[in-house]
Each structure stands twice: as structure tokens, then as C-alpha cells.
Assembly symmetry: none
Homo-oligomer: 196 residues x 4
């Protein structure tokens, strides 16, 4: 009885459609119809699977965040893996940031979009703030394992993430290629390692 529950798949389809839409148009100019078309789904169905357009966005943000968290856990490992020194861990974290985040122009583009929305949308704001807070805390923790004092590591982590976001922004605007972007990041990151 009843159809195969296809709910989760459809929701994913829609979230992925939003991702692709945001690569072409700002969120506010992306209509429900656009998202539906991109997902190959009647636009009325979007309201069946999500409460509202904003709900889609919120889930989308959550989704992106989760994806990267688990990617990070897989590639870097949240806690210092046995045998890996703090420095090695920090190196891995930097590589992750550079490789998976800062040089992913699509992702950066979407993040600029999300920052902007977060300026005046409290729900989005809360989520964005949490993402950055988590990220900074995570990085700070790793820096401590690599030998930094608590006060320094906090400030350094925040600076580093800010720097990363700035570079990400520029890589989009100046259409930097991966090499250029990484060079900018590397240089700074090396300095940081030296400071520890």
C-alpha cells in the first residue's frame, strides 16, 4: 500500500537544485519555479517537501555544513589520531581548507550569497554564525594540540578563517585559479605554523 517513500530523495534533489541555481542567480531572484525546474519537479511540490522557500534555504545551509563536517572528519579526523602529531594534524586541516573550501569557487560563491542573506535574516544568521563559530573552535583546538596557548590559538584561528574567507571571496572576484589561491593561503599558513 502507498508508494515507495521517496521523500528523502526528493528533498535531496531539491537541495541540490538550489545549489545549482545559486551558481547562476542570487537567492532572491531564484524563484520556486526555477528550483523546481532545475530539480525536475513541479514547483508546487517544493511546498510539499518544504515549508517555504526559506525552509529550503535553511535546510540547504544545514546540509552543506553537514557535508563538509563529515568530509572534514573523514579527511582530517576531528581528534588527533593516534600517532599523528599536532603539527601533522594542523597541516591536514590546512590542506582541507585550501583544497575543499577556499579553492571551490562554487562553494565560495554560495557563501557570499549566504553571508548577504544572513545580514538581515535572523534564522540564516544564527546558522551561519554557528558554522563559523564551530569552525573556528575546531581549528583552535587543533592549534592547541599543535602547541599554541589557548589565547593565541583562539585569535589565530579566527584570523585564519577570516583570511580564508577573504581569499575565497577574491578567488571568486578575480577568478583566481587553484594554484594562485593556494599560494596565497599557503604563505600565510606557513607563517602561522612558525608562530606556534
Amino acid at each position: 500500500m502507498g508508494r515507495k517513500p521517496i521523500r528523502e530523495q526528493r528533498r535531496r534533489q531539491i537541495l541540490e537544485a538550489l545549489y545549482r541555481c545559486l551558481l547562476r542567480k542570487p537567492y532572491r531572484e531564484t524563484t520556486m519555479k526555477d528550483i523546481g525546474a532545475e530539480a525536475g519537479i513541479n514547483h508546487a511540490m517544493l511546498h510539499y517537501y518544504f515549508r517555504s522557500k526559506e525552509d529550503i534555504l535553511l535546510c540547504f545551509i544545514e546540509n552543506v555544513y553537514d557535508r563538509y563536517r563529515s568530509l572534514f572528519a573523514r579527511e582530517v579526523g576531528g581528534r588527533p589520531v593516534k600517532g599523528a602529531s599536532g603539527r601533522e594534524l594542523l597541516g591536514k586541516a590546512f590542506r582541507f581548507m585550501n583544497d575543499r573550501i577556499t579553492t571551490d569557487k562554487g562553494l565560495q560563491t554560495i557563501f557570499v550569497e549566504i553571508w548577504e542573506i544572513a545580514l538581515y535574516n535572523p534564522e540564516v544568521n544564527a546558522r551561519v554564525k554557528r558554522i563559523y563559530t564551530d569552525w573556528i573552535r575546531e581549528l583552535g583546538g587543533i592549534m592547541q594540540t599543535a602547541g599554541a596557548g589557548p589565547a593565541t590559538s583562539d585569535r589565530l584561528a579566527m584570523s585564519l578563517v577570516a583570511f580564508q574567507e577573504g581569499i575565497g571571496l577574491f578567488s571568486v572576484f578575480f577568478d583566481l585559479n587553484k594554484g594562485e589561491t593556494m599560494a596565497l593561503m599557503d604563505y600565510f599558513q606557513e607563517k602561522i605554523v612558525e608562530m606556534l
Copy 2:
């Protein structure tokens, strides 16, 4: 001074109104009526003084840019002023960035807004790109006067501006106070000076 033709005066009023509007709402939610009301001008007149809503935005960006260029010229001096050593000039430039730009939350908010629009709007994009290019070039030039080689100065300038934008973004999101923001900037800027 000679009284300005009313046209210029009105245009300025409108651009200033947009500034205030953008402190409250995103551009795309700001209506022509909002801008008109804020400027104390009938909204139909906005089309008399500007071609379109986008035209207002474009002029607005130009305007902001000009304002800061001339402020910079006044406070720092575009060219190494006779008698000022390169290092001193760089210090002044840093102080300008920190004081007038990065710690001005309103300005930073508006910049986040503009970045986002620039992502998908070619006209805005061109203007924003030019602003950052100029700014990086300017800073690079000063760094050279302060002793950096041309290659290093370019990269450093870009990194510094990226960093600045990242910190500006965070100062908005985490609602950092002036002191906190400046501390983050200073720390990095000192390192840069050391590197020269």
C-alpha cells in the same frame, strides 16, 4: 562655493538615502519608494534623476568609492609625501584601513551586500573589481616604498586586503567592537611590517 545645481544636490540626497536604506534592508528588498521616502523625494522622481534602480546602485558604489579615495588622499596621501618614510606611510595606510573601513560596521555591511550583487550583476561586478584592484595596487605601491620587492608586495597587498575584508565580515557577524577588530588587524599587520 556657488550653489550646486539642484540636480546634483538631489542625486546626492538619493544616494545618501540608499546608504541609510541598506543599513536596514538588503538592496533587493529596498524599494524605490523606500529610497524616495528616506530621501524625502517622490519616488517617481528617482527615475528622473537616475535611469533605474540599478543605476542608483551603480552611482552609489562609485560615490562610496570616491568618498573613500579622497578621504584616503587627505589622511594618508596617495604618493609618498616628501619627508615621510615608506614605513610611516604604510603605518598611516594601515591606520586608515583599520579606522575608516574595517571597523565601520555600516560600511562593511553594505560591502557584503555589494559583493553579493556583484556576483551576478556584471556592471556592479566591474565596479567592485576595479575598486579592489585599485586598492590593492595602491597598497602594493606603498609597500614597495616601504622596501618590499614588487612580487612580494603584490601578493602581500592582496593578502592584506583579503584579510581585511574577512575581518570586516566577521566584525559584522560577531558584532566585534572596535578594539577587538583592531587587535586582530594589528597583529597581522605587524607581522607584515616585519616581513618587509
Copy 3:
């Protein structure tokens, strides 16, 4: 009793669900999903048991009418029961009206709803008209047994039912309690008895 075919059971469930829904929302804001949820039945099934939303309403009205007819038959007796004088019968009828109808705020609320729908929906209109016609005729008949001439009894019955509906309406709007409502009814009804 023999267990009722499930179909009838389900239909009843749905009609009762509509009753409860109408206590919370107007018919036109009540969705099929609402009714389904209230009945504990998948909303698509409503179309299996009824032709359409309107069909549910139509059956609902019939249902309410039948319920009150049989209640009336039980409590008052449709025909002058042997041994009961006309006046006694009329008294019972009045008591029924006051007790079971006019002071039942839920029922009155739903009736206001139904009047309104009947204004523009011919099917509903026909049913509502029949209900009032029957009711007036019934009451008129009783009045005749109580001694009124045919012409007087018709007019009196209609007036009385009109009055009853008016008071029912007010009891909802002014949130009159049972005592207040009955006092208003009683007073008028006594006058009527005197007129016979």
C-alpha cells in the same frame, strides 16, 4: 446490532470530523487534509467515500438534520401523542428548541456557516430551505393542535423560528450563557402561548 459495513462507519467519521473542524474554522478555510487529519483518515480517502468536498458538506447537513429530527421525535413526538394536550406538546417543542438548538453554541456557529454557504450554493440552499420549511411546518402543526387557526399558526411558526435563529446568532456573537439565551426565548414564547 450487526457490525456496520466499514463504509458507513468511515463516512460517519468523516462527517463528525467536519463538525469539529467547523467549530474552529470556516468551511472554506477547512481543507480536505484538515478533515482527514481530524477523522484520522488519509485525505485521499475522503474522495473514495465522498464525491467531493461539497459532497461531504451536503451529507453533513443532511446528517445534522436527521440527527435533530430523530432527537425531536424522541423527545417531543412528531404527532400529538395520545393523551398529551396541544399545549403540553407545544411546551415540549419549545423546550426542545431552547435546550437542544438555540442554546447549543457549536450548532449555532455551524448554522451561521451553513446559511452563508447556502446563499450562493444552490445545492446547499435547497437543503437548508427544506430544513427550515419542515421545521416551520412541524411547529405550525403543533400550534394548530394547541388551538391556533391555520393562518395564524403559519405566521407565528415562521416568526418563532426566525426569532429563534436571531437569538441563536446573538448567543454566539455576544457569547450569552444558557440562562440569558433561554430567558430571551421564554419571554417571547410565553407571549405566543398567550396569543393562541
Copy 4:
């Protein structure tokens, strides 16, 4: 400069259009487009002259009320006019009710509509309640001038208005002609006069 301010005229046009619309369709099935078409005005303009569809309705109710209040003042006179005995005044009031309200089928139709909306819409409810309260108070006042004690007059006035509304409702449903409707009203009203 500027156009002739046509605001009030347009608002009236729209309100009148709503009146005509409500004679054909329930409020909830009346679309803004319907009202616009009926008024001969682009439907987007309705939002220029009124905040929302509900705002139109609210103003409409207010408007109807005002119209009848001033009509009443003109035809009956709010206060016992010098030389007019209480009985005469009461007679005039009854004539007004019968002539202008209860036998106006369009008005009664619209009132049924409004009652229904008032059931679940607090704003409309408040206005409707106020209208009836005022009306009952007014009538009660006149009854006192005609000799009734305060307690009796209150109850009588409420009963009379309830009766009136009931008859109005029936005149719509049974499509009574003016004569029939008035006969029903008159009979009861005479009784009332006798009771004073």
C-alpha cells in the same frame, strides 16, 4: 502639479464594487481581480488604495454602518425631536428598520456573509459586535422614551433586533416580498408597542 487627487472617489468605487460582488459570490470566493473588474480598476490598484483584501472588507463594513447611521439620523432622528412623543419616535424607528434594513434583500444577504466572516475573524467580529451593540442601545433608548423601564427596554430591544435579523435571513432564503416581510415584522412590533 500632480494629478487631481482621486483617492476618495476610487476608494468609494472599490467599496461599491465589493458590495456588488458580494451580491453574487461569497467574500472568500471574490478575488481581488473580481473586485477590480467590477470597479473598473486594475486589480493591483486595490492594493494602492487599501492595505489588503481584509482592509477593503473592514472599510466596507464601516462604510455600510456609517451610511445607515446617517440615514437613520435623517429619517428618524437620534434624539426625541421636540414635539414628537416617544411612541411616534418608536414608530419611526420601526418603519426605518422594516423599510430600509429588513426588507433590503441585498443588504441582508451581505449581512449573512459578514456574520459568517465575523465568526472567525476578530477584526470583523469586533466591528459587527459594535454595530449590533450600538443598534440595540439606540433602540433601547427610544423604547425608554416611549415609556419602557430600563430593564425591559434592554431585553426588548435585543429581542427585537434578533427577530429582525431572523426575519431578514428568512426573507432572503424564502425570497419573501416586501409585503410579506413587513407583515411579519409589523405583527411583532405591534405586540411590543402594546407591552410598553
